[in-house]
Point group: C2
Chain length 328, copies 2
C-alpha cells in the first residue's frame, strides 16, 4: 500500500459511529474526521482522538478527503446531501428507499458526473448485498424464482405501533422469517408467497400497571396493516428483562432462489445474514465500498454507481494477484 | 436487445451439453454450434437441430462467434486450449485446479491481451460463485474467519477408491458437510477446523457375491488418505437401488464467514448451494459469464479476467435502469 485512503464521515448517529469503528479494521484507510451539524465540541466520538468539524467547513477539505461516507437518513438527509456533496467529493451512501432509487440516482449522477466524482449510492445489505445476490442468482439461474425473507430483526415502525397501544408501557417487535415458508422454498416447488406468508411477528411488551394482558394482546394482534394479517406472538415481560435482553439491534434475512437447469434438476441458491448489530454491519459494508469508490474514481468511472457496477475485486484490500492465488 | 450474442461450444461432455441447454434459457443468446474433436456426424446433441462442426474448422468462425465457451477438462484440455483459443476469440472456461490458477492466468493473459480478446477463466461455483462470496464476506467483515464446506456431493475420486476395494462390485461416495461443524461456525466462535473436521463421508456399496460386508466396511473405513481420518458411514444396497437412486450428480456446499464489527457484535454471512445437478449448474454459470465477457470486450477490457473483475450488472440480461428499479 502506497498511500492510505482518506475518509470523511458526514452525520454521526449509529451509522456514523459504526463507520468510525470499521475504518480501524481497514489498515489501508485513515479517518480525516467527522463532520456534524451539531456543535463539534459537544460530539462524543467512539474514539476520543477522532477529529470533529462543522459540516459547514467541508469545502476546505476537498484536497484532504478521498471519499466522503454519508451517514444521514434516507428520508430527509440524503436526498439533499448526496447530490450536494457528490459534486465536490467521491461519496458512498446507504439510501434505502427502494421505490425512489431511480430518481435519487438521476439527481446524484447529474451532480457527480460533470464534476468527475464517483458516487456509490444505496450501499448496505438491502439495498446492497441482498440486491447483489438477487442479481447473481437470477443471472445464473434464469429459469427460477427469487424469495427475500427478512429477520430476525427489530422493526422500528412496528415497535412504535406496539407502544401506541393503550396499556403498553414499553415494548419491541421483531420480524421473523417463517420457517415453514423457507422450507417450502428450499424444496424447489416455487410457491407463491405474499410478504405476510413469509414472516411472523413477535412482540415483547411491558404492561402499564393495572392493564389487562388479554385486552392488550387482542389489540396488538388485530391492529390493521401492522399485525392483523400476520401470525403474531405477544410475550409479556418486566421492565428489567426488556432492558437486559432487548437493547440490541439484530437483523438479517435470506435471499433464496430456486430454479431448474432441466425440469428434473432442481438447483437452490441461498444467501443469509445473521447480524448481531444492524447499523454496525451496514457501516462495515459502506467502508468496503468506499475503497471501491476511490479506485473507480482513479480508473475514470465517474457519476452515480450502484453495487451492480462495482467489480468485486475493487472491494478488497488484497491485490488482484493475491486474490487469484488465495481466494479464487 | 438489438443483436443476439453468438456462442460457440468447444468440447461436448456433461458441461458442453449443459451449456447447449442453458443457452435456450437466455433469449439474448444464440448457439452457432458445437465444435468437437470427434467425427461431427457422430455426435448426439441434446437438441438435434444444433449444428456440429470439427474443432479443426474453428478458424473459419472468427467473424461468426462472439464468445467461445470452453468445456474441456482442467487437467489435459484447458491448459492448452484456452491460451490457443483466447488469441482468436473471447472465451469463458471453468479451469478449476486452484493451485495452478496463477500460471494459467499468465498464459491466457499473454494470448488474449495482445489480440484484444477477453478471456474469463475459472468460472463456475468453486472456483466461481464460492470465490466471490469468500471475497465479498472478507471485504465487508475484515475481522473474521471464512469457512468453506462442500457437499452433499458425489465425489468421483472417492467413488473410484471405494470400487477398488476387494469384494465391492459397484458403489458411490458422497461428501457431506458436518452439521456439527456448521453449527459451531454459525455461533460466531471461529473454531479451528481441518477439512476432515468439516466433512463426513457416506458410501453406498453393492457387494460381489460371497463378499463379507464387515470386511469390506472395515477396508473402506481404514483406507489411508481417503477415509481413515473421516467419520465414514457405509451402506450396503443392491444393484437396482444403486441404479435407481444414485445416478444423479448432486453437489453444493456452504461458504460461511463469521466476524465482528465490535467485540460484542457477532455477524454471520452464509452462502449455500444445493445443486441437483453439478455440471448443469456450472454450465448455467458459464453462460451468464459469456454475456459479461462479450460486454467487457466491447468496453475494451481485454486480457485474462476472473469473476473478481466482472461487475455484477454485466451478467444480467436486464438493463442497468431496469436493475436499479427492480432488483436494488
Amino acid at each position: 500500500m502506497t498511500q492510505s485512503i482518506r475518509i470523511g464521515i458526514v452525520g454521526y448517529g449509529n451509522l456514523g459511529r459504526g463507520v468510525e469503528t470499521a475504518i480501524q479494521k481497514n489498515p489501508d484507510m485513515s479517518l480525516v474526521g467527522v463532520f456534524t451539524r451539531r456543535a463539534p465540541d459537544q460530539l462524543d466520538t467512539v474514539d476520543a482522538a477522532t477529529p470533529v468539524f462543522s459540516v459547514a467547513d467541508l469545502n476546505d477539505f476537498q484536497d484532504k478527503i478521498d471519499v466522503l461516507i454519508l451517514c444521514g437518513g434516507s428520508k430527509d438527509d440524503l436526498p439533499k446531501q448526496t447530490p450536494e456533496y457528490a459534486a465536490l467529493f467521491n461519496t458512498v451512501d446507504s439510501f434505502d428507499t427502494h421505490a425512489k432509487i431511480p430518481e435519487f440516482y438521476a439527481a446524484v449522477d447529474a451532480a457527480a458526473a460533470p464534476a468527475k466524482k464517483t458516487a456509490l449510492i444505496s450501499v448496505g445489505w438491502d439495498p446492497g448485498l441482498f440486491s447483489l445476490n438477487r442479481l447473481y442468482a437470477e443471472a445464473v439461474l434464469p429459469d427460477g424464482e427469487t424469495y427475500t425473507f427478512w429477520g430476525k430483526g427489530l422493526s422500528q415502525g412496528h415497535s412504535d405501533a406496539v407502544r401506541r397501544v393503550e396499556g403498553v408501557k414499553a415494548g419491541v417487535q421483531y420480524t421473523l422469517p417463517s420457517e415453514k415458508a423457507m422450507a417450502e422454498v428450499r424444496t424447489g416447488s416455487r410457491p407463491t408467497l405474499a410478504t405476510r406468508d413469509k414472516h411472523t411477528r413477535e412482540c415483547y411488551v411491558v404492561l402499564e400497571e393495572g392493564a389487562d394482558a388479554a385486552v392488550v394482546e387482542q389489540a396488538i394482534k388485530t391492529m390493521p396493516n401492522y399485525f392483523d394479517e400476520y401470525e403474531t406472538t405477544v410475550h409479556f415481560i418486566d421492565e428489567d428483562t426488556l432492558q437486559r435482553e432487548h437493547q440490541n439491534m439484530p437483523h438479517g434475512g435470506f435471499v433464496i432462489r430456486s430454479g431448474n437447469t432441466r425440469p428434473e434438476h432442481n438447483q437452490v441458491i441461498e444467501y443469509g445474514l445473521q447480524l448481531g448489530d444492524n447499523p454496525g454491519f451496514t457501516s462495515s459494508v459502506l467502508v468496503a465500498y468506499a475503497r471501491a469508490a476511490y479506485r473507480m474514481n482513479q480508473q475514470g468511472q465517474y457519476g452515480a454507481k450502484t453495487v451492480f457496477d462495482v467489480a468485486p475485486g475493487l472491494l478488497s484490500i488484497k491485490s488482484p494477484e493475491q486474490l487469484r492465488k488465495e481466494m479464487l
